[in-house]
Amino acid sequence: MTVTIKDAEIREHLRERSVATLRRRTYISGVMTALCWLAITFAAVPLVAVIYQLLRRGIPVIVKSGFFTTLPQQPTIFDANNTGGVSNALVGSLAVIVYAALFAVPIGVLMGVYLAESTSKFASLLRIITATMVGAPSILMGLFAFEVVVQQMHVGFSIIAGSFGLAVLVLPVLATATEIAIRNVPSTYREAGLALGAKPSTTSLKIVLPAASTGIVSGIILALSRAVGETAPILLVIGGAYAIAWHPNQAASALPFQMFQDVQSNYPSLQNETWGIALVLVGAVFIISFAARLWAARKKKVQR
């Protein structure tokens, strides 16, 4: 680099450019800042729009007598509004999630403990597998559940097959939530336990896990409440029965499953009923996750 330009010239050119471009720079900055505001507004619109529709179209559906307590009916040309209720789907959803939880919660939590405490090569490999599985498409859990439960175990289309699909879906989520909750426990707790002469396992069970329990429990609740709304993992395997069923080997319906079926029917009354189911699902998820957060926040305060 050979310098032929003097400092004074640089200064003059700089001042000139700075003034010449100031208006444009300020203008662009203002426009882009406005666009950022627009983006955040745009991001909030769907939430507001969906909730508005849920309330407007869903409330009339769920206040209909027998919505929660009767079985669905097929509308006919004589009675196009005869849609019945969702009692079977309600029971089915509860059954599916309970069986899924029985399988996924113990394994997920124990695995999370392992991920949080182990420094082995296997643990770091497992961490990568877990992070990758969290991103796996949920429809694949349906295919997997079909292959394992319906075909190989000869159970057939059933609640338990749906539960298996959901369980595989939430396992990595539960493990991650547990791992984070345990890692958030100050290391001094563990050190204090060890210093008092307790074995590592005793320290984990008696000190670390209780301290992390709030985080673990709220993680479980959040993951399961979201799993209730999942359609794809159960879609291929649950069977879709029009009767109340809760036995693991029975075919059943579930709330998101029934929504998916009803909205594709040709009867406007059945399509409209999906707003009621949607309101129930979203309301439940919101209330449960809000309550879980509130509870976790309060617990935290009490502990301090």
């Binding site: 955040i40 991001a43 403990v113 990568i128 597998i129 877990t130 498409p137 429809i139 984990s204 209730v228």
Partner: protein, 325 residues
């Protein structure tokens, strides 16, 4: 405890360092849970690939390049299962979704971190999280019953009225289309993108922002030249994570894409994706060679999304280590 506590404690602590010898029931229980998950994960990949193999053997490359999907029924030799429309449909809808989500999501994250007063930040962040808590079937129903009519009545005619609108976007026939599917997907993956990008942008050292401003940069110059470049790896990871979500989304797409097995490239035309085709064909496919073909589409989807997911987690953790250096 005696007065000599601190040394006692240290000795006690050192005496109980976890070692192979001190492994008890607890360690084995925890380890076996982890092992079980590893086995499930392997079995997951294995069984989908296993069920896909017959279709791969019979259809070969036609699975990737063919466009007709015909079951031979009792004579499997007549079956033709081509997945090209599903592949292109998946790519098209995901691209639309990711472009919208990245633009809107980056703007949202910038606004949350730099523009909103601090008390509103938590509210905004919670709002975006709530978006993620809404089940995908609800978005599907909303898209089908509320947005699709809007596409027919307003959005479609508007796009068609633009110069060259028919050639670029295709003529609007039904509301359900690649564009609507991409749009609904964008809303669905937005929370994923914002969650990560908000963290990435928030982690850009404040000193860099101040350095930029104190050189006379405007707010946008600071964002464009300092904040976004510093966070680019993490933002890329966030985009990849959102892409992974968009690739595999099923029920919402079934309801808003039109489910037509056609090789379409114009946004207002209907289409189909890998996941939505699996869901919609499943009922008639069970037990036949078509089922194996659907498993093959599933295997393809799995390879794509696990790959993307793996890359995205690597990118995000690389960004974290870059910033915390």
């Amino acid at each position: 405890m005696t007065s000599n506590t601190s040394t006692d404690l240290r000795q006690a602590a050192e005496g109980h360092r976890p070692s192979a010898a001190s492994r008890g029931v607890y360690e084995y229980v925890v380890l076996s849970a982890a092992g079980l998950f590893a086995i499930i994960s392997l079995y997951f990949v294995g069984s989908i690939v296993w069920q896909a193999l017959p279709a791969i053997r019979h259809q070969g490359l036609y699975l990737l390049t063919g466009t007709s999907w015909v079951s031979g029924g009792a004579t499997p030799a007549l079956s033709k299962f081509g997945g090209l429309s599903m592949i292109t449909g998946t790519i098209e809808t995901s691209l639309i979704a990711i472009v919208i989500a990245v633009v809107v999501g980056t703007g949202t994250s910038l606004a949350i971190n730099l523009l909103l007063p601090s008390w509103m930040r938590t509210i905004a962040a919670t709002t975006v999280e709530l978006l993620a808590a809404i089940p995908s079937v609800v978005y599907g129903v909303w898209g089908m019953l509320v947005l699709a009519p809007l596409v027919i009545s307003t959005v479609g005619p508007f796009l068609n009225s633009l110069p060259g609108g028919n050639a670029v976007f295709g003529t609007v026939v039904a509301g359900q289309s690649l564009l609507l599917a991409g749009f609904v997907l964008a809303i669905m993956v937005l929370p994923t993108y914002v969650a990560i990008s908000r963290e990435v942008i928030g982690a850009v050292p404040h000193e860099l922002i101040e350095a930029s401003l104190s050189l006379g940069a405007t707010r946008w110059q600071t964002i464009w030249k300092t904040i976004l470049p510093t966070g680019r790896v993490g933002l890329l990871g966030a985009g990849a994570l959102a892409l992974g979500r968009a690739l595999g989304e099923t029920v919402a797409v079934v309801l808003v894409i039109g489910q037509v097995n056609q090789l379409n490239f114009r946004p207002l035309q209907p289409g189909v994706t890998l996941a939505s085709w699996i869901a919609s064909q499943w009922g008639e496919a069970i037990g036949s060679d078509q089922m194996n073909a659907l498993f093959a589409l599933g295997a393809l989807l799995m390879a794509a999304s696990l790959g993307v997911s793996f890359i995205s987690t690597r990118l995000v953790s690389r960004q974290r280590s870059l910033v915390n250096r």
